[in-house]
Amino acid sequence: MQQTTIIKPTSGWQLIDVKAIWAYRDLLYFLSLRGIKIKYAQSILGVGWAVFDPLIQAIIFTVIFGNLAKLGSDGTPYILFSYTAMVSWTYFSGILTEATGSLVKNRTMIGKVYFPRLILPLSAVFGKLIDFGVASLVLIGLLIYYGMTPSATIIMVPVLLLILILTSIGAGCFLAALAVQYRDIQYAMSFLVRVLMYSAPVVYSVSIIPERWQPLYALNPMVGVIEGMRSIFLQNRPFPWEWVGTGFATSLVIFLIGCFYFRRTERHFADLA
């Protein structure tokens, strides 16, 4: 049977075309692979950068916030405290930045060939997965060195990752669609990522937030993710079910808004990019 394609003007909100994305899954694979290969082409350390980047930052934080400013780390070694957060945070900010820039960076491709545009931001999730994996291995090494054993709530790690991915890809799609039209988004990204980092408990502990504000604070999905990871691997507090629950709900909202906004504006991409 021959497929018939109808091309006509669309308007308003569009559903996410899962079927089209599935049909182009090989493109998603090669785009992700391309992202990884390009990043480490002609570099001496190669994938080693995936470790250095979060590790060096964690060390800087340890010196400045842990030793000099003496921020509390819930009784765990500060380096572990911050590196645990940095691993998730680096993956989050990596996806967000990559997804946001994906449309503008590939605008010649958008102008020359059809494919489901969502593939571009989505490829960031897989492209950054290697970095995340390598950084995680180092985390495991550190945990063994410090003699930490994870709690049974380790089965929640996939859920935490899901929250992380939904949030970053949702926000990334939204910003990518905006960046096609307003290039300012790209210039604001490094600043935005830094603001976001300090709004999440990366260098400090949620304990310093007044208790009555904590439920509101947990609306930031990364609060549940980071504190969840710390609870699992450092056992500094019981697993923060409420924060993770709140975070999951917000992440879904962010994901849906991002994707639908992306789909709504998608038809202008080739004209504006």
Binding site: F30, K37, Q42
Partner: protein, 426 residues
């Protein structure tokens, strides 16, 4: 197979405002972000009433046509006639504003060769990347991989990053991928204007095979020889509309008739499809000061070029060709023993050919500038030469390119002498 109804595509052009006074300038600087926001945001907003809004452009309007299975349809027209917009809408890159298209079967569109190519990736990686962007699955690329690299002729370097390839090798590899697509409908933009002559012929041969294999092909080109050779029907576009839909000969004839009315001034500064190191760039070419060109009369070619250094002796060549393969004539100052000094900056060069011996017809001009052997700038099909028909010999008859060849012989002396009968009979 393809059914296009009432297709229209509207664009809003970006416009710039300017301020005339200092106060206005200061005010406009302060309000700059707000105004910019409005301006950029307006690019996708259209109000109901658009009469008199000069920033709105209908790149396509009331386009209707259909293509049957197995037909090879040529689409021709001048720059800005809407050909590219039509292809973009047909290939789902951008949405139409009005109307609809129904397509039956798998569509592949080639508006560019080498989409998604990245310099840091190896040839092999790029083949997979490019193939999947064009809609192939990984398995399909794998199956055709050997054929693809054999066709491209870069087997030996398939695992080298493509940044070490010459531009020709890159193009060959990219075209090889494209040539192995296996769609039911193939949409092709002028991708043949790349690569060396031998490779172009190979590509055309491949295209010919595709066209004859019963696939439906839409082919946009400025190359009339290729259109004539490949297509079974032709659309002629002008200002976003189809002004002719029918026989290839007729369409080409009308297209050429329309070309004659265009000024012969060719602006080359924006051409990006040039080769060479770029030390010299042709920016403009004018034939006969914008007037018409006739056989057996002088042809004056005025070239403007920008040079980044002084050249004591620049070699400039103008090649006259018919279609994509036959070079008919080369005008070259080195061959003629003339030195051409060029200074840094903008230079104007006038070449006067005292007596143009080309048959009436349509030709392409390629430009080349360089020193000794290295090309500084090379533009294929930099301009068109349209030689008008004229009763050259005063015989009441007009020689024509399609019957009488490419060159006009000077009037010969004819003599019928002594009838020789009876030789060898005595």
């Amino acid at each position: 197979m393809i059914e296009v109804q009432n297709l229209g595509k509207r664009y809003r052009l970006g416009t710039m405002e300017r301020s005339d006074t200092l106060v206005e300038a200061v005010k406009s600087t302060l309000l700059y972000p707000i105004r910019n926001f409005r301006r950029i945001a307006s690019r996708k907003k259209f109000s109901g009433d658009e009469t008199g809004d000069s920033s709105i452009l209908w790149a396509l309007k009331d386009v209707n046509f259909s293509v049957a299975k197995g037909e090879v349809l040529g689409i021709i027209g001048h720059n800005g006639a809407g050909k590219s917009s039509l292809l973009k809408v047909l290939s789902r890159i951008t949405e139409p504003t009005t109307g609809q298209i129904a397509l039956q079967g798998r569509v592949s569109s080639l508006l560019e060769v080498g989409t998604g190519f990245h310099d840091d990736l190896t040839g092999r990686d790029n083949v997979y990347m490019n193939g999947t962007i064009l809609g192939m699955t990984r398995r399909e690329v794998e199956e055709k991989f050997e054929e693809i690299i054999a066709f491209s002729g870069v087997e030996a370097h398939i695992d080298t990053p493509v940044k070490f390839y010459s531009s020709g090798m890159k193009v060959r590899l990219a075209f090889a991928v494209a040539a192995h697509l296996d769609p039911e409908i193939l949409i092709i933009d002028e991708v043949l204007a790349v690569g060396d002559l031998a490779f172009q012929e190979k590509c055309l041969g491949k295209m010919d095979k595709v066209a004859k294999s019963g696939r439906t092909v839409l082919f946009v080109s400025h190359n009339m020889v290729a259109v004539e050779g490949l297509c079974s029907r032709c659309l002629l576009m002008e200002n976003g509309r189809i002004i002719f839909n029918g026989g290839v000969q007729e369409a080409i004839h009308r297209y050429r008739a329309a070309s004659m009315n265009l000024s012969e001034r060719q602006v080359l500064a924006d051409r990006t499809d040039r080769e060479g190191s770029g030390g010299v760039r042709f920016t403009e070419m004018i034939l006969n000061e914008g007037g018409e060109v006739y056989p057996f009369q002088p042809l004056v070619i005025d070239l403007t070029l920008e040079s980044s250094t002084n050249f004591e002796d620049l070699v400039v060549a103008v090649q006259v060709s018919k279609g994509y393969r036959e070079v008919l004539m080369t005008i070259n100052n080195r061959l003629q023993g003339t030195k051409l000094p060029v200074v840094k900056g903008v230079n104007k060069i006038r070449i006067t050919l005292p007596n143009l011996s080309m048959m009436p017809g349509h030709y392409l001009l390629d430009l080349w500038a360089g020193s000794m052997v290295d090309a500084e700038d090379r533009i294929s099909a930099a301009g068109q030469l349209y030689v008008n028909e004229r009763d050259i010999y005063g015989s009441g008859l007009v020689p024509m390119g399609q019957y009488h060849g490419s060159f006009i012989p000077e009037a010969c002396s004819w003599e019928a002498y002594e009838k020789v009968t009876g030789i060898g009979t005595t």
